[in-house]
C-alpha cells in the first residue's frame, strides 16, 4: 500500500507520460482486495472462523446457561427443532447440562488447542525448516533426519501413549500436539527457504554486511510468510481434530470441561435413540474444520506468487 501511494501521486502529476501510463491500473493492494473478494471459499471460511472466534471470546456473555450446571432431573431433553422447549435451545446432555452453552464454551477449548498447538509446532517447525534451508549442509542433514524420524511416528498413536502416561488435561493435550505437529512446517519452510536463499536481494543483503539473523528475519521470513500461513491453518485444523479424537477416546480434555470431542463421546451411548447428541457437536466440529481449511486454501490462492502477476 505505502509503495503504491507515490506511484499514484506521480500518475496524477504527469498523466501524459507514456512510460508511467503503462503502470497505471490497479495497485497491488487493489488487486489483492479483488482476489480476496472474488474468492468465495476464502470469504466463507474466514467469516465463519471469525464468527466462531467471536463466540468463543464472548462465551460467558452469550451462553444462556452455566455449562457446568448439572440438573439430573432434566437429562437429555430434546432440542427445539425436535420438540424441545426454548429454555434449552439445543437440548441438554446426559447430565442435564445445557447443550448450547457447552457447545459455546467448547469452541474456546477447540480454538485454544488449535491455536496454541499450531503456534508451538509453527515455532519449532519454522525454526528447523528455515535453518535447514538457509544453512544447508550438516544442518540440513540433521533436520531432514529429524523430520524423517518424526514422519515415521504415527501421530495419533504417540499422542495416545503420551496422554495415557501423563494423564489427560488441556495443558498436556496442547503440549503433546504442539510437539508432534511440526513436521509439515519444517518440510514446507525448508523448501520455501531453499527457493529464496539464492535470490538477488538475499545476496545483496549479504553483500552489504547484514548479519545472519537479520537476513533470516527481514529478508527470508517475510518472503515465505504466505506459505507459513497456509500451513498454520492446515495444522490448526489437524490439531482440533486430533483433540476431538483424543477426547472421544477419553484421553483428551477431562470432564467437566466442555469439549466437542468429549460431547460426541458422551452422546455415543445413546446414539441409537438420541442421535442429535452426537450429530450436533459433530456438525459444529465439521463446520469449524471446514472453515479453517477453506480459509487456508483461499489464502494459498490469494497470496500465491503466480496470482500476483
Amino acid at each position: 500500500m505505502s509503495a503504491a501511494m507515490p506511484r499514484a501521486t506521480a500518475t496524477a502529476a504527469a498523466p501524459r507520460d507514456p512510460l508511467l501510463e503503462e503502470i497505471t491500473g490497479p495497485t497491488p493492494g487493489q488487486m489483492l482486495r479483488r482476489r480476496i473478494f472474488g474468492h468465495q471459499g476464502f470469504l466463507i471460511g474466514t467469516i465463519t472462523l471469525l464468527v466462531l472466534l467471536a463466540i468463543a471470546l464472548v462465551a460467558p456473555l452469550i451462553a444462556p446457561h452455566d455449562p457446568y450446571a448439572q440438573d439430573l432431573m432434566s437429562r437429555m431433553e430434546r432440542p427445539v427443532f425436535m420438540g424441545g422447549d426454548w429454555d434449552h435451545v439445543l437440548g441438554t446432555d446426559h447430565l442435564g447440562r445445557d447443550y448450547l452453552s457447552r457447545l459455546i464454551y467448547g469452541a474456546r477449548v477447540s480454538l485454544l488447542i488449535g491455536g496454541v498447538a499450531a503456534l508451538i509446532s509453527g515455532l519449532i517447525g519454522t525454526a528447523m525448516g528455515v535453518a535447514a534451508g538457509y544453512f544447508g549442509g550438516r544442518v540440513d542433514m540433521v533436520v531432514t533426519f529429524l523430520i524423517n524420524v518424526r514422519l515415521a511416528m504415527p501421530v495419533t498413536l504417540v499422542a495416545l501413549a503420551v496422554v495415557a502416561v501423563l494423564g489427560g488435561s488441556l495443558e498436556v493435550v496442547i503440549g503433546v500436539l504442539g510437539l508432534l505437529l511440526w513436521d509439515r512446517f519444517a518440510v514446507v519452510m525448508r523448501a520455501s527457504t531453499l527457493q529464496v536463499r539464492g535470490r538477488e536481494y538475499v545476496a545483496a543483503a549479504r553483500a552489504i554486511g547484514c548479519s545472519t539473523p537479520r537476513i533470516l528475519l527481514t529478508e527470508i521470513l517475510p518472503n515465505i510468510l504466505n506459505a507459513l500461513i497456509v500451513v498454520v491453518t492446515l495444522e490448526m485444523a489437524h490439531a482440533i481434530l486430533l483433540e476431538a479424537a483424543l477426547s472421544f477416546l477419553g484421553l483428551g480434555v477431562q470432564p467437566p470441561t466442555p469439549s466437542w470431542g468429549l460431547m460426541v463421546s458422551e452422546g455415543k451411548n445413546m446414539m441409537l435413540f438420541e442421535p442429535w447428541l452426537v450429530l450436533i457437536p459433530g456438525a459444529v466440529l465439521f463446520v469449524l474444520v471446514l472453515a479453517i481449511n477453506l480459509m487456508g486454501d483461499g489464502l494459498r490462492d490469494v497470496t500465491a506468487p503466480e496470482n500476483r502477476s
Binding site: 448439572q70 437429562r75 437429555m76 467437566p256 435413540f273
Partner: protein, 503 residues
C-alpha cells in the same frame, strides 16, 4: 470396483442372515458379554462373566436358592459342623463330570487343598483363604477344616467355591481348565475362544440337583464390548439376550415394546473411598473428619438413584449391601445439604474449597455426575478415569485421595464380603481404624449370629460416624431378551442359563 462392492455386500448379508437363523428354531440362545473374560477357570478371574460361566459349568457343594435364600445340598447332600472349625459333608453319589470322571471325595479334597494354597494364586483370596484343608473320610464323606471359626463358610461353599475333577485338573492345571473346562454343571463347554466366544451345550446327564435340568440346548456367547452394537444385533435378531444394559437404553427398548426388559437389583454398591489415613500425603484434606462429612453432605443420593441409576437401585448409607447378613441399617445418615457441606469445608479451613485428584474406573457418566456434586460445594476435581487394575494398583500404593469405587461382594450375602474386605487394614483400606478392625475381627470369627450382628453394627456405625466412605447407591442391572425366551432374573446379577427356557 462395483463388482467388488456388491460382492462384499452380498457376503455381509449372507453372514448376518446365517446368524439370524439361530434362535428357538435350532434351540440356540445367543448371548452377549460386554467384557473380555480373562480365564474361564472360576478361581482365576474376578469378573461377573466368570461367575455366570461358573454357575453353568460347575457345581458347588451347597446351593443357595436365589429366591428364598435357603441353603440346600448340591454336590453335598448334608453337612454338619463337628466343631468350630470342622465341617463334615456327605457327598451326592452317582454324579460324574463332563469327561466321565466320577465325582467323589478325592475331587473335593483336591480342589479345596489346591485353591486354599495361596501359592497357587487364586485371584480372589477372600473367597478361598478361610479354608485350611480338606480331608477324606470315605469315598462320599469329607471334612473341610477352616483356619478359624468361619460362620460364612456355607455361603462361600454355595457361591464361589466350586468342585473340580481331581485327575483332570492335576493334569491340565488352571490354563487347561481355562480353555477346556470340565465340571459337573448343567452345561458342558463345546468350545472356548478365550475372551471372545464361548459355546455351551446342555448336559443331558446332569444330576438331579437343586439347579434343575437345563432346557435350552445350546448357549452361544460372544464378547461384544460396545452396547450400541449389542443393541443393533438384538434388533437384527442375531442376539437373543443381553444384560447389563444401561438404564437409559433399557428404558427406550421397553418403550419400543418388542422385547422383554427386566430390571433387577444387584449387590453392587457404589461409594466414594476417601484417604482418611493420609496415605497419599499427611496434609491431604480427607484426613479431616469435617471434609469427609462435607463430601457426604454434598451428594444427592436420591436424585442420583432416581435420574441416573433408575430401576431397582436404592440410596445406600452403609458400607455394605442391605440384604447382606449383619448389614445394619440404623447408622448415621448424611442428607443432601450443599450449604452444610460448604460450612463444614469452611470450618475445616477450606472456605474456598480445594483441588483434588478424583479417580474412577467405571460408569463414567455416574462419576461425572458425582464429581459435579463435589464441584458444586467447592471441591475442584481433577478427573482421572483409569482401568480397574491400574486404579487398584495406585490404591494399593496409597496414592489415591478420593475415588469412585464399586463392590459387588461376589454375590455373597454376608456383610463380611464387603466391609471386612475393605476395613481390616488390608492394602485397600483407606481408613486403618483400629476400633473398626477389632469389631470386624470379632464379627468375622464368631459363630453366634447375635454377636456377629452386634459387632458388624458397631463397625458400620463407626465407619458412618467417621465418614470414612461416602456410600451412595446400589446398582441394578437390566436384562433384555426376545419374547421367545422365558427367564426370571434374580437379584444377584447372575445369569442362570439352566433356569431359561423357550416360550
Amino acid at each position: 470396483m462395483n463388482r467388488y462392492l456388491l460382492g462384499t455386500a452380498v457376503a455381509a448379508l449372507t453372514l448376518s442372515a446365517g446368524g439370524a437363523f439361530a434362535d428357538k428354531s435350532d434351540d440356540t440362545l445367543r448371548v452377549a458379554f460386554t467384557k473380555e473374560l480373562e480365564s474361564v477357570d472360576s478361581y482365576y478371574n474376578s469378573a461377573r462373566e466368570g461367575v455366570v460361566l461358573q454357575r453353568a459349568i460347575w457345581d458347588g457343594l451347597i446351593y443357595r436358592d436365589p429366591v428364598t435364600n435357603e441353603y440346600v445340598g448340591n454336590l453335598a447332600t448334608s453337612w454338619e459342623w463337628i466343631d468350630d472349625t470342622t465341617l463334615e459333608l456327605k457327598l451326592r453319589e452317582g454324579v460324574s463330570f463332563h469327561n466321565g470322571e466320577p465325582f467323589n471325595a478325592d475331587d473335593v479334597v483336591y480342589t479345596v487343598n489346591f485353591v486354599a494354597d495361596e501359592a497357587n494364586g487364586a485371584v480372589t483370596q477372600n473367597n478361598v483363604n478361610w479354608m485350611e484343608s480338606a480331608e477324606k473320610i470315605d469315598d462320599y464323606t469329607v471334612r473341610i477344616h477352616t483356619k478359624a471359626p468361619y460362620p460364612a463358610a456355607i455361603e462361600y461353599l454355595s457361591g464361589p467355591v466350586s468342585m473340580y475333577p481331581n485327575e483332570y485338573y492335576a493334569e491340565v492345571g488352571p490354563t487347561g481348565m481355562g480353555t477346556a473346562p470340565i465340571g459337573t454343571g448343567p452345561y458342558k463347554v463345546v468350545s472356548v475362544d478365550p475372551g471372545k466366544h464361548f459355546v455351551l451345550e446342555a448336559n443331558t446327564e446332569y444330576h438331579d440337583g437343586p439347579k434343575g435340568q437345563p432346557e435350552i440346548g445350546r448357549i452361544d456367547i460372544r464378547t461384544i464390548p460396545e452396547v450400541n452394537t449389542q443393541l443393533a444385533e438384538l434388533f437384527n435378531g442375531t442376539l437373543d439376550l443381553i444384560w447389563q444394559v444401561p438404564s437409559d437404553q433399557a428404558e427406550r427398548i421397553e418403550q419400543m415394546g418388542d422385547f422383554v426388559v427386566s430390571n433387577e437389583s444387584t449387590m453392587r454398591v457404589g461409594y466414594l473411598a476417601m484417604d482418611a489415613a493420609g496415605r497419599s500425603g499427611a496434609d491431604n484434606p480427607f484426613t479431616d473428619l469435617k471434609v469427609r462429612q462435607a463430601v457426604n453432605h454434598a451428594l444427592d443420593r436420591e436424585t442420583l438413584v432416581d435420574a441416573l441409576l433408575k430401576g431397582k437401585s436404592t440410596p445406600i448409607h452403609t458400607a455394605c449391601f442391605p440384604s447382606q447378613f449383619g448389614c445394619a441399617q440404623d447408622v448415621t445418615e448424611y442428607e443432601y445439604d450443599p450449604e452444610k457441606a460448604k460450612a463444614l469445608l469452611a470450618e475445616a479451613g477450606y472456605p474456598d474449597g480445594f483441588k483434588t485428584e478424583f479417580y474412577a474406573y467405571r460408569d463414567r457418566e455416574f462419576a461425572e455426575a458425582i464429581a459435579s456434586y463435589l464441584n458444586a460445594v467447592g471441591i475442584e476435581t481433577d478427573f482421572k478415569m483409569l482401568q480397574y487394575s491400574a486404579l487398584r494398583d495406585l490404591n494399593m500404593k496409597g496414592e489415591v485421595p478420593i475415588s469412585f469405587q464399586t463392590w459387588g461382594s461376589f454375590s455373597v450375602n454376608d456383610a463380611s464380603a464387603m466391609v471386612s474386605q475393605f476395613f481390616k487394614h488390608g492394602e485397600l483400606d483407606d481408613a486403618r481404624d483400629d476400633e473398626v478392625l477389632a469389631d470386624l475381627d470379632i464379627a468375622d470369627s464368631s459363630t453366634d449370629p447375635a454377636v456377629r450382628k452386634e459387632h458388624y453394627a458397631l463397625a458400620l456405625q463407626r465407619i458412618a460416624d467417621q465418614a470414612y466412605w461416602a456410600p451412595m447407591f446400589s446398582y441394578n442391572t437390566n436384562y433384555v431378551f426376545t419374547d421367545e425366551v422365558s427367564y426370571a432374573p434374580t437379584a444377584d446379577e447372575v445369569l442362570r442359563f439352566h433356569e431359561m427356557s423357550w416360550k
